[in-house]
């Protein structure tokens, strides 16, 4: 096996060990007795003892860790103390909704961030540049949970332009039930041509997606501006200028394409960031995704659920990075040298 492959696999393995160890710590080192959390507020000592035995809470810690790892591997991610269902099943239901929200947020972020960044670069040092830089800095400075509350109150409650919370109007389940293929409501509604659910979901999606989009839009605008300015000072831009192309043409026809490369790389970073940031947004908008699940788990001290979310997001992140690195090693041998 090539050296770089072993190295990468080793590193990914290390990260996973770290993640699993961390989640184990989360499930066991909770303040309070997990048995009480499961058995209920007025449990008798006998009930507690029974729960302890059932979940192996009376075993030594290293036995518990071994059992924990074995269970994870066999797909038993413990039972949520709060929903009392397998955590893995809960995650399976919550994840598509998060993907939908973050996806919509990123689409908005790109649609706004790129043109605005071009605008700023084109008029560098002048008013449009100034206002774009200012606005993008504001966008990355906004506390998401506060922005979510503010938009919900203003556009949801006071003005009534958008629904206040939820993923779509629940009564549509009766009038035009949705057939599931991907579990992502918008996508399913689109491919099955379910217009009532599609429009309802889009209306519900608008405000939370805007909130999720704020930070990435700001970052993307700043990055596009910076890269365009750098590209415009390259030799090829000088040549194009000498050939008589106008400044706007140079930026959009020649400089933008290479400048988009770092933007694309940024999106992968922002994706993971947005999933976690979306937690706060989902809680406010009652969006049925990972975030609402995680926040409710936190407030109920539902440690198996918190550990499950942590594990899922981290493993996805690690796995995606690993696959990319390995693929890249195949595509572009130069990177193996690193």
């Amino acid at each position: 096996m090539p050296r770089h492959l072993i190295l990468r696999l080793g590193q990914a393995f290390l990260v996973m060990v770290g993640v699993v160890a961390l989640t184990f710590v989360i499930t066991r080192m909770v303040p309070g007795d997990p048995a009480v959390a499961y058995a209920g507020p007025r449990a008798t000592p006998e009930q507690l003892a029974e729960v302890r035995e059932r979940f192996g809470l009376d075993e030594p810690l290293w036995v518990q860790l071994a059992v924990y790892v074995r269970d994870l591997a066999t797909g038993d991610w413990q039972t949520s103390l709060h929903t009392r269902r397998p955590v893995l099943e809960d995650l399976y239901h919550a994840f598509p909704a998060s993907l939908e929200l973050v996806g919509a947020g990123l689409v908005i972020a790109i649609a706004v961030g790129v043109p605005v960044g071009v605008l700023a670069a084109r008029f560098r040092g002048r008013f449009p540049d100034f206002s774009v830089r200012l606005t993008s800095m504001l966008a990355v400075s906004l506390p998401v949970f506060w922005l979510a509350l503010a938009l919900q109150t203003v556009f949801g409650s006071t003005l009534g332009w958008f629904p206040v919370a939820g993923e779509y109007d629940g009564s549509l389940d009766t009038t035009s039930p949705l057939t599931l293929w991907t579990n992502i409501t918008v996508v399913d509604a689109l491919i099955t041509g379910n217009w009532p659910i599609l429009t309802s979901t889009l209306a519900h999606l608008a405000l939370p997606a805007l909130v999720v989009a704020a930070y990435p839009a700001g970052v993307i605008a700043q990055l596009v501006r910076a890269t365009l300015i750098e590209e415009a000072s390259q030799d090829h831009a000088r040549l194009e200028r000498a050939l008589g192309f106008r400044e706007t043409t140079i930026l959009t026809r020649f400089a933008l394409r290479p400048a988009l490369n770092p933007v694309l790389s940024l999106i992968a970073l922002v994706f993971a960031y947005a999933i976690v940031n979306g937690f706060l947004v989902e809680a406010v908008f009652n969006w049925p995704g990972l975030g609402r699940y995680a926040v409710s788990a936190i407030s109920h001290s539902d440690t198996p659920a918190v550990a499950g979310v942590t594990l899922l997001v981290a493993l996805m992140y690690v796995f995606a990075n690993l696959v990319v690195d390995l693929l890249q090693g195949v595509i572009d041998p130069r990177t193996r040298a690193r």
Partner: protein, 543 residues
């Protein structure tokens, strides 16, 4: 070519995600339906006997069901289960007495140690089996054996006999008010135990219920917004009138502001709790009824009588005097009512004349006597309370500020219940704040569970150990069963002793429910013995 890598990360993440979610394979979401509520009752011109096709939508703030087993259920599902299952009796908050439900009449003998209940005739379980004495006995015995949830309420029962099909005879180990116990919101349901045991998995998964109540499960989808729908049980012993609601849906709405929006738009019919500000708004909103009702739930501020500085009774009395009772009730803006003693109004043993008042001068003097206060070294006290409870937080904020004036620093920590309780059982704090409510409409649990001494601390979180108090508590059930007047006096004396003499607790307020309903719903009555329960069978739309 770094961007290729990042793009691939995004791509792979997407593929992983899709693979994880792409197994849905064309199933229909929400089969069974998530219905709309009634909008304004029947149109003009139609008679009131028009069949009510509307769905009554209830907006709970938490998951509707955590445990489907009628024996061990001890949580939010009381709202749903009280409409699916019934007990022998039901408590009437207006008359303060148990009323017939599955039992039509009852009597006690032998100083409250023997109880005979006559069962209602013609009652059928949802499984089709008839309710007879044997079935009732089986259900209660199964509940007792489960030893979970509130099963302890049957603790006095020595044996159950069935002299005939319609008679249930309880022999008790010690005198107890069985008619009240049988009205409990938890663990008192009569159910088809045989069918349950045969189909245990179906019952646990909400596919089947084995009750006698007016409603039966239509669909249950844990974790969904519309988690549970109920439908009318055709063969209900009480029969059905056309105008009654035949369908009920529960739409889980954690944020009260959202719930408020939904009731305003008529998307839900009932919101179990608003905050005072929204409640005030509800009172001025057309199309919405604002309903306020007293509860049986009060706040207990328990002082550590066993260890630490609060072991000194003067310190405890000073703490009692430091609480700004009137300010707290003012800031609660209607969500709570000043308490007088341990027992909330509406229950046997409620007393007047024990209403507390803030008196910082007295607190200062008492602290001075005990060696603390402004001229002495600072006193540090720890307090634990429930995480996420706005009202308790308000108490803590006010108490912290008041104590600061008398040179006492309060180190307050909000904790989830299990953590707080765990710590409490170890006696690891000076002040423990919690709500207490009875499982059945009787004040006994405030005394027996909270203030009777215990080697192994459960809810005696003031750690009070007093032989005379224990003795008095142990006499209460028999008194209640035989001589209510003497019981009332005994309850009053005990409260004086615990609050004034021992200063083991301060009781700042009794909670008040502030609810909102759509204006078109008639017949709603709050029953504090069944917290947050709506008996849907009793309702009808206006018009």
């Amino acid at each position: 070519m770094r961007w290729h890598k990042r793009l691939l990360v995004a791509g792979v993440a997407g593929v992983v995600a899709l693979a994880a979610s792409a197994c849905a394979g064309g199933q229909v979401r929400g089969a069974g339906g998530s219905p709309r509520p009634s909008t304004g009752g029947t149109p003009a011109g139609q008679t009131a006997t028009q069949d009510n096709e509307a769905t009554f939508v209830y907006a709970p703030n938490l998951d509707v069901v955590t445990d489907w087993d009628p024996a061990t259920s001890y949580s939010n599902e009381i709202i749903a289960l009280s409409n699916i299952y019934e007990g022998l009796t039901r408590y009437n908050a207006a008359t303060k007495e148990a009323e017939p439900r599955l039992a039509t009449e009852w009597s006690s003998a032998d100083g409250g140690k023997e109880w005979t209940f006559k069962l209602r005739q013609g009652v059928k379980f949802h499984t089709g089996a008839p309710l007879d004495a044997e079935a009732a006995k089986k259900a209660i015995e199964r509940t007792m054996k489960s030893n979970g949830g509130a099963a302890y309420i049957w603790g006095a029962v020595d044996k159950i006999e069935t002299p005939d099909d319609a008679t249930l005879k309880f022999t008790l180990k010690y005198a107890s008010p069985m008619d009240l116990i049988a009205s409990s919101g938890y663990a008192a349901y009569l159910y088809d135990a045989e069918a349950l045991e045969k189909n245990e998995d179906d019952v646990k998964n909400g596919k089947l219920d084995v009750g006698t109540g007016p409603y039966t499960i239509d669909s249950w989808r844990k974790g969904q917004e519309t988690e549970l729908t109920l439908k009318a049980f055709e063969d209900y012993w009480g029969g059905w009138r056309p105008e009654q609601y035949k369908k009920v849906a529960f739409r889980v709405t954690p944020e009260i502001t959202t719930a408020w929006q939904l009731v305003q738009r008529g998307e839900v019919n009932f919101v179990q709790r608003l905050n005072p500000q929204l409640f005030q708004q509800a009172g001025m909103t057309e199309g919405v009824q604002a309903k306020q009702a007293p509860s049986f739930q009060n706040l207990l501020v328990l002082f550590n009588t066993a260890e630490g500085p609060a072991k000194d009774v003067r310190v405890r009395q000073a703490l009692q005097h430091a609480i700004d009772y009137d300010g707290l009730v003012a800031a609660l803006k209607g969500a709570g009512q000043k308490a007088g003693g341990l027992v909330p109004p509406g229950l046997l043993g409620h007393t007047t004349g024990l209403e507390p008042k803030q008196d910082l001068d007295k607190a200062r003097a008492l602290l001075q006597e005990a060696g603390y206060g402004p001229d002495n070294p600072e006193l540090k006290l720890t307090l634990t309370y429930a995480q996420g409870d706005e009202d308790q937080k308000l108490l803590v904020t006010l108490l912290t500020a008041a104590l600061k004036q008398v040179n006492v620093t309060l180190q307050a920590r909000a904790m989830p219940w299990n953590a707080q309780w765990d710590r409490g059982k170890k006696g690891d704090q000076d002040i423990f704040v919690m709500y207490w409510f009875p499982d059945y409409a009787d004040p006994f649990s405030w005394f027996f569970n909270v203030f009777r001494s215990a080697e192994d601390v459960q809810f005696n979180l003031s750690y009070l150990k007093d032989g005379a108090i224990d003795e008095a508590i142990d006499k209460l059930p028999e008194l209640a069963a035989t001589d209510p007047l003497a019981a009332d006096q005994a309850y009053a004396d005990l409260q004086k002793k615990i609050i004034q003499e021992k200063a083991a607790v301060a009781v700042p307020y009794v909670q008040t429910y502030q609810r909102a309903l759509t204006a078109d719903v008639l017949g709603y009555v709050d029953n504090p013995a069944y917290p947050n329960v709506v008996f849907f069978y009793d309702l009808k739309p206006a018009g």
